[in-house]
Symmetry: C2
Subunit: 493 residues, 2 copies
C-alpha cells in the first residue's frame, strides 16, 4: 500500500484553511451524534517516527469535547503489562459506546517494528497478524467503528526532522539512537510496514495511508476521512458496517462431547474417602500453585452449570488450597453499566490473571450463549457468532501460555428442586435463592439446548469442557480438584 | 504495643474448633449485612515475614462470598506505580460501599520497613506517618470501617519458619536474602514496627496485634475481632464511628483572597494583541511541557467558575500547546455509580497524572463545597470537613512534587445571561445549555457564598487560587496561560 502514495502538492493556503475550518465544525457536531447514537469509535495512528502523529492527534482531539474522547499512548509495555497477554492493554483502552478513543500507536507496533527488530519468523508473524485481524473483526461485529491511519514520510524527510529535533537542546532527547538506526534501515522497515498494511487492510477495518510530508495537508486529510467514515457509520447503524464475515465456528479442533441428558449421575463419595481425597488433592494443588508461580504460568478456571449445582462450594475447595496472593475469584453477574457499554468480552479481558496467577471465573463469557441467548439479551446473530469469538479468545489465551480449564457442573432437575427447597427452608441460605432462580428453572429445557450446543461447539482440544457430575456434591468437588491437578501436572512436566 | 503481647497458650482443640465454626457462620452472615447496609470495609494485614499472613487471609476470605470481597497484595511498587504518589495505589484498591477489601500489606510498608532500610530521617518519617493518619481519618469520616491487624512472631520462631521453607525445594524461593537479613536485624525492625504501631494507633483506626505463633489461634483471634468490629460498625451506622475529630481547617498557611463581588471585571484584550499574546504563551507552554516531562514534574490544573465562564475555551487553548501524549483532560460531572459508591476523593486520586504529565481538571473535588453543598448532595458535616480534607489532599500532591494551579473563572450575572441566550440561539451550541444551567443560575447568590468561602479557606500558599477575569474571554484565556507559564517557569528554574 505504501508504494501507491503520492507526495502530492499541498493545496493553496486559503482554500485549505476554509475547508479545515468547516471540517472542524463538522467533527464537533458529529461527536454529539456519536454520543447520541451510542457509536463507539477507535481512531488509531501508526506511522514513521517523527511523521507528526503527536501534532496530528493534538489537532484532531481539539475538535472534540474531552468528556467524550480519550487519548491513549502506547510505548514499550511496563513490567506489569508484560505479565498479561499482548492484546490486554489494548482491550483495556476500549471506549464505551458513544465515546471516541484515540490511540497513539496500537496493536500494530507488535507486528511491524518487532517483526524487524526481533526478527520474528513467518509463523509467529502470521499468528500475530491473525490475532490483530480477529480483534478488529470482533470489534467491528460488536458495533465499533475502527479508523486506522498510517502516517507516511520519506527517508530523507525523516532524517531532516530528526536533525532538526536533535539540534534543539529542549527536543534533542526525543531522538534516540534507535530512531537513527531505524532511519538508516528505512528500506527494511518500509517492507515490514508495507506487508503489515497489506495483511491487515480488511473490509471491516481498512487502512488510510496519509502523507505526513506537509502537516497541514495531513490534518486536512485526516479530518476528511474521519468525517466521512463517522458519517457512514452513523448512517449505516452499528450492525450495517461492512465486513462482518459469515459466521462460522469452523477451523477449530473440536473434542466430541456427550449430550447432557446422556450423563449418568451415578457417582458418589463417602465421608472418609471424601476427606482423604480432598485433603490429598488440595495439598497437591497447593504445591502446583507454587510451581505455577515460579514458572509464571497463568491459569484460567471457568465454572458453569445449573443454578445450585455447587459452583460456589467447588470454588471454595479450590480456593482453600491456594495462596490468596496468587489467585482471584471473578464473580460474573449481570454486567454493570460500564461493562454493558463495551464489547461483551471486555470485562473478561480486563479480569485476566497475571502470569503465574490463577483467575477463577464463577460464570463467564459463556453467559453470551446461555443466559443472554435464552433471555434475548443479545440477538441471534450475536450469540451465533459468539462460539467462534469465544474459541478465538481461548485460543489467544492458550497461545499466551495460559492453561484454560472449563467445568460444567451437572445435576438433574429433581436435585435442583431439592436444593432450592433446602435453601428456602434454611434461614442462613435464604439469600442465595431468588425469584430469578425459579424463573430460570422454569426454562430448564431451553437452557439444556443451549448448554448442549455450547459444549459441542466450544470444546476445543486446547480448552476442552469437563462435565462434572455434581449430583453428589462431595464427588463433584473432588472430581473438579482431580481434573485441575492432573491438568496442571501434565502442563508442568 | 508489641511488648504487651503475650505468647498465650493455645486453647484446647475442641472448644476452639467449635468457636471457630460459629464465627465462620457469623462472618458469612455479617457479610450479607455489610452489603445490605452498604458498609465499606478495609481489612489490612501487616506483620513479620512468615508470620502467616497468607494463610490467615486465605482462611478469612473463605467465609466471604467472593462477589463482595477482594484481596489486594502489595509488593514493591511497579515502575508505573512509582510514577504516582505513594498513596495512589492504595486509593485505587478502595472498595465501594457494601464490599470488603482485604489488603495483604498496605500503606504501612512505607513507614516501617522503609524506615529501617532507607534510613528515613525523623522529618520524613513524621510526614509519612502524618499522611497515613490523614488517609485513615478521611476514610473513617467517609464511613469506612478500617480493621488493622499486625501479626507478630518472635525472632526464633521466624528463623525456624524460614529454615523450614528453605529446606523444601518448592518453597525455598520464598525466602530471600533480604528475609534472612531482616531476621538477623529483628531488634531493629521490632523497634520500627513498635513505633509505627504507637504512632498510628488512632481512635478511628486502632491496631490489633495478634500472635502468629499458633496459626489456628491466630485465625480464631482475627475472626473474633472482625466479627466484633463489623457488628459494632453496623450498629453504630456509618456516621457514628468513634474518632471523627473535630472539624478544623486550621494549620494550613492561607493566602488572603478578595470576595468575588470585589473583583473588577474591567480587563479586555483586542484582536491583534490577543493573537500575539496567545501565540507567545502557547509556544512557551509547549517548551515548558517538554522540560516538565524530562524533569518528571507532575502538574495538576484545576478549572472552576460559573457556568459559561469559559472553562472549556481556556482548556482548549492550554491543550493546543501540549503534546497529547503528555496530558489528559479530566471532565468532572455527576459521579458514576462506581464513583458514588466510594469516598468522594477516590475518583480524583485515580485520575492523577503520572510524573511528567499534566492533568487538567474541568471542575474538580471542589464540587464538594460548591454544587454538593448547594444541592444538599452531602451533609453539613461532610462539606464542612471537606475544606480540611482538600487542603490535606493538595498538600500531599505538592509533597509528591506536583505543581497545583487552581483557577476560578469570574464573570458577572449579566454576562452569564448573555452567554446562555447566545447558546440557546445558536444551533451548534444548543447542546451546551440545559435546564440545569438555568436552575443553577437561579441560585447564583447561594453559589457565590459557597465560592467565597471556598476561596477563603482553600487558598493555601502551596496551592493558591487564581481568580481570572473572564468577562472578556480573550483576556481570560491569555491570563490563564500567563499564570500557568509563569508558575511553571518559576518551578523549573
Amino acid at each position: 500500500m505504501l508504494q501507491e502514495i503520492e507526495w502530492t502538492e499541498p493545496t493553496s493556503g486559503k482554500s485549505r484553511k476554509k475547508e479545515t475550518e468547516e471540517l472542524r465544525a463538522r467533527l464537533s457536531a458529529l461527536q454529539q451524534e456519536v454520543r447520541r447514537k451510542k457509536l463507539p469509535v477507535v481512531i488509531l495512528f501508526e506511522g514513521w517516527g517523527a511523521a507528526g502523529k503527536g501534532s496530528l492527534i493534538s489537532d484532531l482531539i481539539l475538535n472534540f469535547d474531552p468528556r467524550g474522547c480519550k487519548v491513549y499512548s502506547f510505548t514499550a509495555p511496563t513490567s506489569a503489562e508484560r505479565r498479561e497477554p499482548v492484546l490486554w492493554r489494548y482491550w483495556r483502552a476500549l471506549p464505551p459506546k458513544g465515546q471516541i478513543a484515540v490511540l497513539d500507536r496500537s496493536w500494530y507496533t507488535d507486528v511491524s517494528t518487532e517483526r524487524v527488530e526481533k526478527d520474528l519468523d513467518d509463523a509467529e508473524t502470521a499468528r500475530r497478524i491473525g490475532d490483530v485481524n480477529i480483534l478488529e473483526r470482533q470489534l467491528a461485529d460488536g458495533g465499533y467503528l475502527i479508523l486506522k491511519f498510517f502516517l507516511h514520510i520519506s527517508q530523507k524527510e525523516q532524517k531532516k526532522r530528526f536533525e532538526k529535533l536533535a539540534a534543539d537542546k529542549d527536543t534533542a532527547w526525543r531522538v534516540t539512537e534507535q530512531d537513527w538506526r531505524r532511519n538508516r534501515r528505512y528500506e527494511k522497515y518500509f517492507e515490514a510496514f508495507d506487508r503489515m498494511l497489506d495483511d491487515t487492510d480488511t473490509p471491516c477495518a481498512p487502512w488510510h495511508v496519509v502523507s505526513g510530508m506537509d502537516r497541514k495537508a495531513a490534518s486536512l486529510e485526516v479530518f476528511r476521512i474521519t468525517v466521512r467514515e463517522i458519517e457512514r457509520a452513523l448512517a449505516g447503524g452499528p450492525a450495517g458496517r461492512p465486513g462482518a464475515e459469515a459466521v462460522s465456528a469452523g477451523g477449530f479442533p473440536l473434542v466430541p462431547m456427550p449430550k447432557l441428558s446422556e450423563i449418568q449421575l451415578c457417582h458418589s463419595l463417602g465421608g472418609d474417602d471424601y476427606r482423604r481425597e480432598l485433603d490429598g488433592r488440595q495439598a497437591l494443588l497447593g504445591e502446583l500453585h507454587n510451581r505455577l508461580y515460579r514458572k509464571k504460568v497463568p491459569v484460567v478456571l471457568v465454572f458453569e452449570g445449573w443454578d445450585a449445582a455447587g459452583k460456589g462450594g467447588c470454588i471454595r475447595r479450590v480456593a482453600r488450597a491456594l495462596d490468596p496472593r496468587g489467585y482471584a475469584v471473578v464473580p460474573v453477574a449481570a454486567p454493570t453499566p460500564d461493562e454493558a457499554a463495551r464489547h461483551y468480552l471486555w470485562r473478561f479481558w480486563v479480569s485476566l490473571p497475571r502470569s503465574g496467577h490463577i483467575a477463577v471465573f464463577d460464570r463467564s463469557w459463556y453467559g453470551r450463549v446461555l443466559v443472554e441467548r435464552v433471555e434475548g439479551f443479545c440477538t441471534r446473530d450475536e450469540w451465533g457468532r459468539a462460539y467462534r469469538e469465544i474459541n478465538e479468545f481461548e485460543r489467544q489465551l492458550c497461545d499466551w501460555g495460559a492453561v484454560v480449564i472449563k467445568f460444567w457442573l451437572q445435576i438433574d432437575r429433581d436435585e435442583q428442586l431439592r436444593r432450592f427447597q433446602d435453601r428456602q427452608r434454611t434461614p442462613e441460605k435464604r439469600w442465595k435463592i431468588t425469584e430469578e432462580d425459579w424463573r430460570n428453572r422454569a426454562k430448564w429445557d431451553q437452557y439444556e439446548v443451549c448448554a448442549d450446543e455450547m459444549l459441542k461447539r466450544t470444546s476445543t482440544e486446547y480448552a476442552p469442557w469437563h462435565i462434572v457430575e455434581s449430583q453428589d456434591k462431595k464427588y463433584g468437588r473432588v472430581e473438579t480438584l482431580r481434573v485441575i491437578t492432573e491438568t496442571l501436572k501434565k502442563r508442568l512436566k
